[in-house]
């Protein structure tokens, strides 16, 4: 894997997938996100970087309304996916989450078989009419997550018995099995070793062909390696957002520069 090389792949589309306007997020009295507006493009990897507690994960979890599960969390402003406000009162978060898949920081496969892990989403959303179709969906998802060859002979083995990197790729397969349009990744490699990280990063690059991928990461090298667009968050503000190579080579904001050169964070 190329290390510390700024991604040279261009953004392949101009289509705006997600657009957030003046988003404010409060945890009780604390404001975690301050007036963030950002437009995320389709078929692009967008990286959110920033020091711990800057709000990048919080913002990510707003995109599929996972913050709804936290009682004290309030979201203001609007986030549109394909022009539809996802915080509209008519939107069922469950339907939204089928469209916006998520991969978490720590690999969290269900304590079930590998097959059932991937088949769970399609099953509850009724994406298959029979066993053969479901088998097909599972196989496709596992292949796209680049784990098929490793697990095809033991689909009935427990998903929790895989190695950390395999588990994370299984979780990615699970997320893409429901045919989402957006894939959110919350520090997907932070619990993985360098080899597994490289595999997952390679995978993210391939997933870009089909999805808008938003990835939160602590590692600036990772952001540079996998993303085309980068957003830098600091203390709940979106400080700078633009082409990844521009952010890393010629940042406009002094705070971005300080973070990238290691002076704050």
């Amino acid at each position: 894997m190329k290390d510390n090389v700024i991604s040279e792949m261009d953004v392949t589309t101009d289509k705006i997938k997600i657009s957030a306007n003046n988003v404010q997020v409060y945890y009780g009295e604390n404001q975690a996100i301050k007036d963030v507006s950002v437009e995320i493009q389709d078929k692009t990897v967008t990286a959110f970087i920033g020091p711990s507690g800057c709000g990048k994960s919080t913002f990510l979890r707003c995109i599929n309304r996972m913050n709804d599960t936290i009682d004290i969390c309030r979201v203001q402003g609007d986030i549109m996916i394909d022009g539809e406000d996802i915080y509209d009162s008519n939107v069922d978060p469950v339907q939204l989450r089928a469209k916006v898949g998520m991969v978490f920081q720590k690999p969290n496969p269900f304590p079930k078989s590998i097959y059932d892990n991937v088949a769970y989403g399609p099953r509850i959303h009724g994406l298959s009419r029979n066993k053969a179709e479901l088998d097909d969906i599972v196989e496709r998802a596992l292949k796209r997550a680049a784990i098929w060859n490793e697990v095809k002979d033991r689909l009935n083995a427990p998903g929790t018995g895989l190695s950390g990197g395999q588990q994370q790729r299984l979780c990615i397969a699970r997320a893409i099995a429901t045919e989402p349009e957006v894939l959110l990744m919350d520090e997907p490699c932070s619990a993985l070793d360098p080899i597994a990280t490289a595999q997952v990063e390679e995978l993210i690059d391939e997933l870009r062909q089909n999805y808008a991928v938003v990835i939160v990461t602590h590692s600036m090298q990772q952001a540079a390696r996998v993303s085309q667009k980068t957003a830098f968050f600091h203390l709940g503000n979106l400080v700078e957002y633009g082409e990844t190579d521009k952010i890393f080579t010629a940042p406009e904001d002094p705070r971005t520069e300080s973070y990238i050169t290691g002076r704050i964070g």
Partner: protein, 446 residues
Amino acid sequence: MTDMPNHTTPHNSLLKQDARTVKRNRAETRFKAYGIAAISAGMLMLLILLSTIIGRGTGAFQQTFLTLDVQLLEAKLDKNGNRDLEEIKKVSTFGYAPLMAAAMEAKVAQAGIVTDLKPKELEDILSKDAAAKLRDFVLENTDLIGTSVEFRFLTNSRVDGYVKGRVTRESIANDKNINVAQLDLVDALRADGALEKRFNLAFITGADASDARPEAAGMGVSMIGSLFMMLVVLALALPIGVAASIYLEEFAPKNWITDIIEVNISNLAAVPSIVFGILGLAVFINYMHLPNSAPLVGGLVLTLMTLPTIIISTRASLKSVPPSIRDAALGVGASKMQSVFHHVLPLAAPGILTGTIIGLAQALGETAPLLLIGMVGFIASNPPDGIASGLMDPNSAMPAQIYEWAKRADPAFYERAWGGIIILLVFLVTMNAIAVMLRRRFERRW
């Protein structure tokens, strides 16, 4: 210069412990000793408890029997000779006494025992229950009337006590129920082999018996009472408790109302069980007019008592399911309910089962609330026929039966109380073993 730093000062050497370390190590050794002493004391108490229970209780599983050949004289039992059951039933247990006395005389003569006891006194070494048992047998086998039957009779509890060593020749000086001549007869019959101590199944399966015939008392009916109560508790407490915990833990908003509910559930778990008993008396019997002494009422009261235990343990096991599993389910678009029922509940199931079984075991051993709703009834009849009628029929429960026996005067009942405790403990240990097994079996790692 010669004032080089002195490296051999005891202060700095690693080979010698300094005063602080010595003190610290001593404190640690002392603490370990306290711990070992505490555990030893606990183990010793447990050992004393178990050995006392087993030592005193095993006697109840054995009873002294006397085998006799009884002539079922047609002249006495069926005067008209037409084997009409209604007519045979008219012969009361008093009608059977002469048959038994005759059988005793025959036995004494056959064994060549010399005694100056009258026939009535001979018969007195048998249980007062014996005639009734013989009558029941004849009513079931009317075709045997007119023949000679070998029948094994229970002996009187004094005779049983003598055989077991509880009653001695000195201790019966003021006892009207037995005399020394009868004990001589017992010795002779033992030597003959007709009178012997053997395993008594009736203690496990039988009903309670009156004060005059402790030898006939058994745990069977109260076991059925306990079983019915446990069924009621299981059928009510498990679904209500689990549903309440799932709602409180997964769905309810966290506000002051749920806080109050939570505190109160914890407090309910510590409410003395007698309070639940008086509540049951007031609500189920006085207000709802459910029958006294019925396992249904007992089960309802024990349900109230068990609910907090089940709710607390269920909530604890729901809490112990990592949030990442919930996130994972929600992340692929499962609804809240799907994430709970498909993923959280299966992972929490072993803990829920364990908590339920522990709660049931606690309810099984509970006596105080049963006293208030009258489940200490004297139930000498045979077990009720149907399951449905069993819920409403008066019954007893195992711990209540033990309490009942322990408070009676005759030491023969005292022995049965210890025996009852053994049976109860066997049930409790079995239930706990099942709980441990279920936990081992279904525990999954994530």
